[in-house]
Symmetry: C2
Subunit: 462 residues, 2 copies
Amino acid sequence: MSNVIDLKEVFAQPDRFMNQEVSLQGWVRNHRKQKSFGFINFYDGTVLSELQVVYEESLPNFEEIQKFAIGSAVFVRGTMVPSAGKNQQFEMKAAEVWLEGASAEDYPLQPKRHSIEYLREIAHLRPRTKLFQSVFRVRSLAAQAIHDYFQSNNFVYVHTPLITANDGEGAGQTFQVTTVDPDGCSRPVDYTQDFFGKKTCLAVTGQLEAEIFAMAYKKVYTFGPTFRAENSNTKTHAAEFWMIEPEMAFCDLHQLMSVEEEFLKFVVRTVMEKAPEELAFLEQYTKTPLTQKLGDFVQSGVARISHHDAIAALREAHAKTPFENEPKFGEDLAKEHEKYLTDELFHSPCFVYDWPKEIKAFYMRQNEDGETVAAVDMLVPGAGELMGGSQREERVDRLVARMNEIGISTDSFNWYLDLRRFGGCVHSGFGMGFERLIIYLTGVDNIRDVIPFPRTPGNCEF
Amino acid sequence: MSNVIDLKEVFAQPDRFMNQEVSLQGWVRNHRKQKSFGFINFYDGTVLSELQVVYEESLPNFEEIQKFAIGSAVFVRGTMVPSAGKNQQFEMKAAEVWLEGASAEDYPLQPKRHSIEYLREIAHLRPRTKLFQSVFRVRSLAAQAIHDYFQSNNFVYVHTPLITANDGEGAGQTFQVTTVDPDGCSRPVDYTQDFFGKKTCLAVTGQLEAEIFAMAYKKVYTFGPTFRAENSNTKTHAAEFWMIEPEMAFCDLHQLMSVEEEFLKFVVRTVMEKAPEELAFLEQYTKTPLTQKLGDFVQSGVARISHHDAIAALREAHAKTPFENEPKFGEDLAKEHEKYLTDELFHSPCFVYDWPKEIKAFYMRQNEDGETVAAVDMLVPGAGELMGGSQREERVDRLVARMNEIGISTDSFNWYLDLRRFGGCVHSGFGMGFERLIIYLTGVDNIRDVIPFPRTPGNCEF
C-alpha cells in the first residue's frame, strides 16, 4: 500500500509513468460495463482529471467489480498504456481492482447534469463534482498564493481576534456572542456575568488590530473569517466569510494602489499557472471567457480616477444614455456605475480614489479639501468592488475631531489613539473579501457556491 | 521615497550594502545623545536586529534630531559602514534623519526590562518589543510553513464553518451566536426568529466538515479559529484559538502517525531555518535550551507506544517512585505521566495510541478488542499533548451503534453517516492547537503571550 501515489503525479509526468505499473486509491465517478470488460472513470481528488481504468474478465473478481456502484471507493493497480480514446492520452489496464468502500444505488451524484441549486442542498457531497472540485481547489490555491505573496514580501501574518467587545468601525450589524442563557437570565441582562464580563460580538473587521501590528512590523496582513448579521439575501452576501486585510506603515494612498495591483496580479497569475484545467472547466461551465478575462487583467494596467472625475464621466454618459440612478457628486456609486467605469470607460479594472468623507469610515485620512478622504476602491469587470482601502488618519487631533463629529466615543479607542501618540506615521491598508475574489477567479457568481458551507439568513446547515 | 528598502534586506546581504547608501523607515528603540553626535537604535520590524544609526552635528537639523523621543517613527538615509561596536557588523552613518511621527515622553516602552505581565496589559504596544517581535514572527512563519507543507503534498485547504447548529463532538462548552436581544425576546426564546432560524453556536472543531472534503479530495486540511467557552484560567487555555485539522482518506492510524511526524518536523525545521535570530533571542529570554530541544526533535525518531503499554510502564515506575496520580489501565494520562513518557522513558516525543474508548470521541474507529479505539496523541517534551488524532469509524453500523450507546442523536448527523454510505473508506485525521505549537517553538509558556489578543474568562480587550 505504501506505493500508492496521487493521481496528480501521473498526470504531471505521463511519460514517466507510461508502461509502468501504478497503484491508486480513489472513487468511481462513472462505470460502464460490457460483457467481457468494463470501464471505470476513476478520480482521487488530487487532480481534476479522471483516469479511465479498463478491466477485463480475466480478473478473478471480474463479476464482483461489475457490481461496483457509482461513488464507490476503490483500489486499482495496473499499467498505464496509451489510450485510443479521444480525450485522453493514456488509460490504466487493470491488474487488480477492489472495493475500499461501497456506495449505494441511491447515490445522489449519478452521472447526469445536476442543477447548482440542487447541489447546494447536498453540500456534503457536492465537493465530489467536477464543478465544485474546480471551485474549491481554486479557493485553496488562491489562499496559498495570497500567503505566498505577503510572506515573500516580508509581511507578517497576524491573527486578529474574532470575539470582540467593540463593533469595529460600525461597518455592519453584528452577532452577539454569549454564554448567558436568554431563557433564564436576569433582565436587564447582567453582562458582568457573561463569559467575558461584558457584552461581546463577532468581529466585522480586523483592521484596527492590524494597525497595531503594522506599527510594529511595518507590513502585516490578516486572513481570517469575518461576520456580518445583515439580513441580505443576495448573491454576494454571506453572514460568515473570509477576508484579507493588509496594513502597511510608511505607505500612502498611491503606494497602496500599487501594492493592491501587484498583489492581485500575483494571485491571478499563480492561480492561472496552477489550475489551468480547473479554469478551463469553469470557463466551459459558466459559458464566460474566463481565462481571457484573467489573462487580460494580468497584462493590463489598472486605471486610476478620482471619485470626482468618475462622477463627472458618469454624468456625461448619463446625459447621453441615462442610468437608472443619476450619478451625483458626493454620493456612492451604484452597481451600474461601477460597471460603466470598468466595462465601458476603461475596459479594465480601475481604482476610484478620494471619496466623499460622509460615506466613508471615521479612520480614513482627511484630505486638504475638507470634503474627501484618502480612500480607494478597486473595481473589476464582472465583480464590482473587489478591494476597499484607505490611507489611515495618523494625525490624532484630526482623528479625534472626526470621531466627535460623527459621535464615536473615544473612550474605548484609547489604544487606537495611542498608535498615533507613540510613533504613528503615514500608513494605509485595504480589505478584500476572499469570496469576492473567488467569484472573480471562477466566474461562479453566487457566494453560496464558492464557500464550502454558506451561512445566510435562515441557513446554517452542516 | 521609492528607494526605501526593508532593513531585512540589509541584514540579509551585508556585503552588498557595505559602503552603499541606504534609505529606511522605522522606529527609534533607543536613543543615546552626546554633545556632538548621537546614536539611534533603529528597527523597522522586518527583521529582529536593530541598526545603529550614527548622526553628527554637521547635519542641519542636528538639534531637532536630538529631541526625537523613544518610539518615534523616523526616516533615515545614510551609508552603511563597518562598525567598531562589539555586537554589530555594520552601522549607518546618517546623511539625513527626519521625523515621520513623534512619540511622547510617557511612551511605555522605555529601554528597560518590562515584566511579561505588564506587557500583556499593553497588548497594543507589546508587538514592538524584541520578545513579542520574536514570538509573533515565529507564529507567522510557522503558519506559512504549515500551509507550505500541506500544499506541496497535494492537500486542499478547506474553510470549515465557524457558526454552526451542531456542537460538533460535544468536545467542549460553546458560545451561543445570536441576533436575539436577550433583554427583549420572548420567553421561551423563539429561535425561529433568530438570524439562522435556529439556535447556533461557535464551532469547537471543523473535523466533521473536513471529513466531507477528505471524501472528495483525498487529502485536506483546515486552519482556522476555534472556540471553547470553558471557564479555565490556566496557562494553556484560551476561549479563542487557532487549530489545524488535516484529514486523509485511505490513511490508517499508523500512516497517520507518519504524516504527523513528517509534518511537525517540516514545520520545526522551517522555523529554525527562517528565524534563527528570533529563536536565539527566545532561548536567552526563556533560559531554556530551546534550539537544542528543537534540533534534537528534528533529528530524533518519535517513539510509538500503545496506551496499554504506556500504563504498564507508568505503573512500573509508580511502584518505584510514586506519581501523585496512580496510572490506571482504561484511564487518561495526567500531565506528570505525559512528562515521564517523554522526558524519562523515551527522551523524545512519543505517540500513545489505541486509547480506551470510554474517554474518547464517538467517531473514532473501534478496535477489535472491544475496549479501545484507534486514537493517537502525540506528546512532546515541555508541551505535553501537541496533537490528537484518530482513524475515523468508517463502518456505518458500528458508528450508529456507538452513537446510540452514548446518546448522540443520529438525526442531525445524517450527512455525516452519508459519508459512510456513499464510498466511505478508511480515513484518519488529527488536530493541532496552533498556540500549543507556538508555545513549543518559542518556549514562552503562557498562551496569553503567543496569541496577539488573548480571550480568556473575563478578558476581551482590544
